[in-house]
Every structure is written in structure tokens, then in C-alpha cells.
């Protein structure tokens, strides 16, 4: 495996691990990290979160990853753990502190 691929995989896994830890701690989910499917829906089915959880998570992401999520209605980022990770990784790669 090339170092480049290892870095990409490592970055994704680390971001997902941090997100899972954040979800479990902030939302008091009765789940272990390995029970959280990265592509399961956050709202509706899947994890079954609600809009209040969304606000909490957005605030936690801003703190943990030092991002400013200006628009909470960036709905396609808040669909799964992986789509959140996409948003975070993209923002970090851009080297910007704010992201819409």
C-alpha cells in the first residue's frame, strides 16, 4: 500500500473515530464505536437523531475540529458520519477555519 493511500485511509479513520467519540459522549448514545455504521443515516432511521441533536453535534464539531459551520442547513453534510467526515476533511485540506 502506498504511503499516500495509507495517509488517506488513516485520515478518514481518525476523523470517523473522533466523530464517533463525540456522538457517544455528547449525545449519550448507548453504543460502542464499532457499532456505529459510517454510512448509516443520522436522522430518521439509522441513529435516529433529531434536530436538537443536530445543533449539539454542529457545536461539538466546531469545537473539536476548529471549524465554523456558518450554515446549519448544509443538509447534505449532516446525513451520515461519512458525509460529516467528508465536510471536515475537505475543510482541513483547504486549510480554512470556516466552512459552509
Amino acid at each position: 500500500m502506498s504511503t499516500e493511500l495509507m495517509a488517506l485511509i488513516g485520515k478518514r479513520e481518525k476523523t470517523l473515530e473522533l466523530l464517533k467519540k463525540m456522538f457517544i459522549e455528547n449525545l449519550h448514545l448507548n453504543l460502542q464505536k464499532d457499532e456505529m455504521d459510517p454510512d448509516a443515516a443520522l436522522f430518521g432511521s439509522g441513529l435516529g437523531l433529531d434536530s436538537i441533536d443536530a445543533v449539539e453535534i454542529a457545536a461539538a464539531i466546531e469545537t473539536q475540529f476548529k471549524l465554523e459551520i456558518k450554515n446549519f442547513a448544509k443538509k447534505d453534510s449532516f446525513r451520515t458520519l461519512n458525509t460529516l467526515a467528508d465536510m471536515i476533511i475537505k475543510a482541513e485540506n483547504c486549510g480554512r477555519g470556516d466552512h459552509e
Binding site: E35, P38, D39, G44, K75
Partner: protein, 375 residues
């Protein structure tokens, strides 16, 4: 259910679990577009509908379910029944009525499911199992304005129906809110004798909402675009709930049927996982996926990306390769290796995310600031 869903519509037909349903009406692209942009109506009578009644109905369902049955009256729980190997057998909703339970099931004909349930009933338990498909049809209405069409067709109350809940139109007819396309989605359980009346009403308002008949094939395309579990595709590969990303449908703490097997699988490090993939060139089910010359997985479910460009699929990839955002894999299809990228489903931005039933209307859809559906 009459053989023609809309009496004047032509369609090819397909048999799913012993039930003949429309396969394609106009074109797959047109039907998927209706689900994504307006309203699509489908005959989903291949979904088995059973009513479990009697003093021990709860006990039986609790015994066979791999999750805790924390479901209130008029609510639904989406779960799976397991095979002895721990992989999915049937894709089900458990629906709690005031006294009885309904099971909506994909992947097993009604009679076979009834036999399965009876096999797990204790001899002294008082339970009756009725197959409602013999007297009722099941229709699906999907789309970002499905709520509006249904509120005109049947009842304005449908607008406030929460996801995974249901209510009774009358003693014999039920509306469930349970879509699987990523758009607003409803299931209508109607007595056979009232389906034609309902279809006539749909035809009367079809121009107002650009309603299309949507066949089974287009529904499968929509399931894939949103990574909704397809028992006929992902369910056919004998993978674990963790590998299929279905752990949210089970509980490892629940003691019951095959729970030991489930726990045993959980305690093994996950070796492979279902991952979204996209490529410009055609690929199909069972094609191998490679990193350099190393085979790292295969395609479980693939289709042309109707709502976007290229081809999309769900691939079972070995760990650690099974992560999103990797641009450097290849797929070997029809004698050729072409680039393949892993992505995070859903593959599209569902328009329903941007529609507010309290504010919006189909006639004013051009004023809604929808983002691009892909990209």
C-alpha cells in the same frame, strides 16, 4: 390487485417473491426523475403484509426480532430477520397497532413468512397470523411532493405524519410513512376493491403533480442512489450486519434468536465492509475491484447513475480499503480495468431535504432554491 395498475398504462412485468408487479412503464430515467422531482406511484404488492394478533403476538415477534421492540402504538420499527448464519433473511417493518402487530416484509412471500413465524410459535401460545395481501394491495408514493399529492388524494393530515409512523384512513385502509428512496415516501394499504377508485383519483390529479407510474426497476435504482438495503442484492451475499452497515437494525444486547451468533460476529474484527463506489465507465455486479494488482473486493449492486453521470455501486471491500474518499482503485469489467472511486452515500442530494410541507407547494417548486442533485 388488477393486472394493470393504471388501466391505460403499458408496462413490462416482473415476478418478485411470487408476485407479478410492474417492472418498467415509460422509461427508467423518466420514472427515477419522477421520484426525484415530483411524485411516483408504484405497485409494491411484493411486500408481504401480515397481521399478528392474539394474546402472545408480542412474545412471538419479540422472540424472532434481533432488536428490542421499543415501538409505540402507530409507530414502526425497521429491522431484519436473521438466518442461522447471522446474515439478513428478511427486511421487515414491525408496526404496532393498538392491540395487534403488522409486519411489512421484503424478501419472503407471505405464506413462507407465515410458516416461518408459526415455526417459532410455542404450542401453547394464542396467536393468529393473517396474510393481508390476499385482501389488500400495497401502493407506494414517493417524491419530494408525495406528501402534497397524498394530502389531496386522501387526507391533509398526512402532511404531519412523522417518519416511521402510520394511521388509519378507515377501518380497512392504512397510510404508512416509510419511504426507501430518500424522498418523502408513503405506503398505502388498501382493500383490493378500492384500488381502482384510488387509481382514478391519481389520474385526476396527475397533471397537477406530474405524477408518473414507477416500476420495480426504477425503485431499485432509487434504493441504490440512497444506499437503502436491498434484500435481493446486498441481502443475497451472506454478509453480517456490520459488513452491510445494518448494525442500527439489530441490538447486540438482545437475547433471542441467533443472538449468540450475532455477538460472535461482532466480537470478530470486521474484515470487509459495504462501501459506495462511482466510476465513469460501465461496471456490473460481481466485477472485481483492485488496488494496484491486488484484488480488494467486488461489486455487490451496480447500476447506471440515472440521477447523475457514470455508474454507481455498492462494493464489498476488504479492510482497510473499505473507506470513503479513495480515488485510486480500479474496477475490472468486461476485460478492462478502469478507474473507480469510493464515495460516501447517498450519491445524490435528495430534493426532499429542501422541501418544507408547511411552506412549499409543487406549483411553486421553481422558487425553491434546490442545490444541484449531484456534484
Amino acid at each position: 390487485m388488477s393486472d394493470s395498475f393504471f388501466p391505460d398504462s403499458d408496462c413490462t412485468r416482473i415476478e418478485i417473491d411470487g408476485v407479478s408487479v410492474p417492472e418498467v412503464f415509460s422509461s427508467i430515467d423518466q420514472e427515477v426523475s419522477a421520484v426525484r422531482n415530483s411524485v411516483g406511484v408504484s405497485d409494491v404488492s411484493f411486500v408481504s403484509v401480515l397481521r399478528i394478533s392474539g394474546e402472545h403476538a408480542y412474545d412471538l415477534i419479540d422472540r424472532i426480532c434481533p432488536c428490542f421492540l421499543y415501538v409505540k402504538t402507530n409507530q414502526m420499527k425497521h429491522t431484519i430477520l436473521l438466518k442461522e448464519s447471522g446474515s439478513p433473511l428478511v427486511d421487515i417493518y414491525i408496526c404496532k397497532e393498538r392491540i395487534n402487530y403488522l409486519i411489512l416484509a421484503k424478501g419472503m412471500p407471505g405464506e413462507a413468512l407465515r410458516e416461518f413465524l408459526l415455526k417459532h410459535k410455542k404450542t401453547d401460545e394464542n396467536i393468529t397470523i393473517s396474510i393481508l395481501n390476499t385482501t389488500h394491495s400495497l401502493l407506494a408514493i414517493n417524491g419530494p411532493f408525495a406528501w402534497e399529492a397524498l394530502s389531496e388524494l386522501e387526507d391533509p393530515e398526512v402532511i404531519s405524519l412523522p417518519y416511521l409512523s402510520f394511521y388509519y384512513l378507515d377501518d380497512d385502509s392504512i397510510i404508512f410513512r416509510a419511504g426507501e428512496t430518500g424522498e418523502f415516501g408513503y405506503l398505502l394499504l388498501l382493500p383490493h376493491q378500492t384500488v381502482d377508485i384510488f387509481c382514478k383519483k391519481i389520474i385526476e390529479i396527475s397533471d397537477d403533480f406530474d405524477i408518473e407510474c414507477v416500476g420495480y426497476t426504477a425503485l431499485e435504482y432509487c434504493y441504490l442512489e440512497n444506499m437503502f438495503f436491498n434484500i435481493k442484492k446486498e441481502g443475497a451475499i451472506d454478509a453480517t450486519p456490520a459488513e452491510l452497515q445494518l448494525q442500527w437494525r439489530v441490538s447486540y444486547l438482545k437475547k433471542g434468536m441467533y443472538s449468540d451468533k450475532l455477538l460472535e460476529m461482532k466480537n470478530r474484527p470486521i474484515a470487509r465492509r459495504l462501501t459506495g463506489v462511482i466510476g465513469k465507465d460501465p461496471f456490473q455486479d460481481n466485477d472485481g475491484i483492485y488496488y494496484s494488482d491486488k484484488r480488494i473486493g467486488f461489486i455487490v449492486n451496480a447500476n447506471r447513475f440515472v440521477s447523475g453521470n457514470g455508474y454507481i455501486g455498492l462494493a464489498l471491500l476488504d479492510m482497510p480499503y473499505a473507506v470513503s474518499g479513495i480515488p485510486c482503485y480500479e474496477i475490472f469489467s468486461q476485460g478492462e480495468k478502469t478507474p473507480l472511486m469510493t464515495v460516501s452515500p447517498p450519491f445524490i442530494r435528495n430534493r426532499s431535504l429542501y422541501v418544507n410541507p408547511q411552506v412549499h407547494a409543487y406549483q411553486e417548486r421553481d422558487t425553491i432554491p434546490f442545490p444541484p442533485i449531484t456534484g
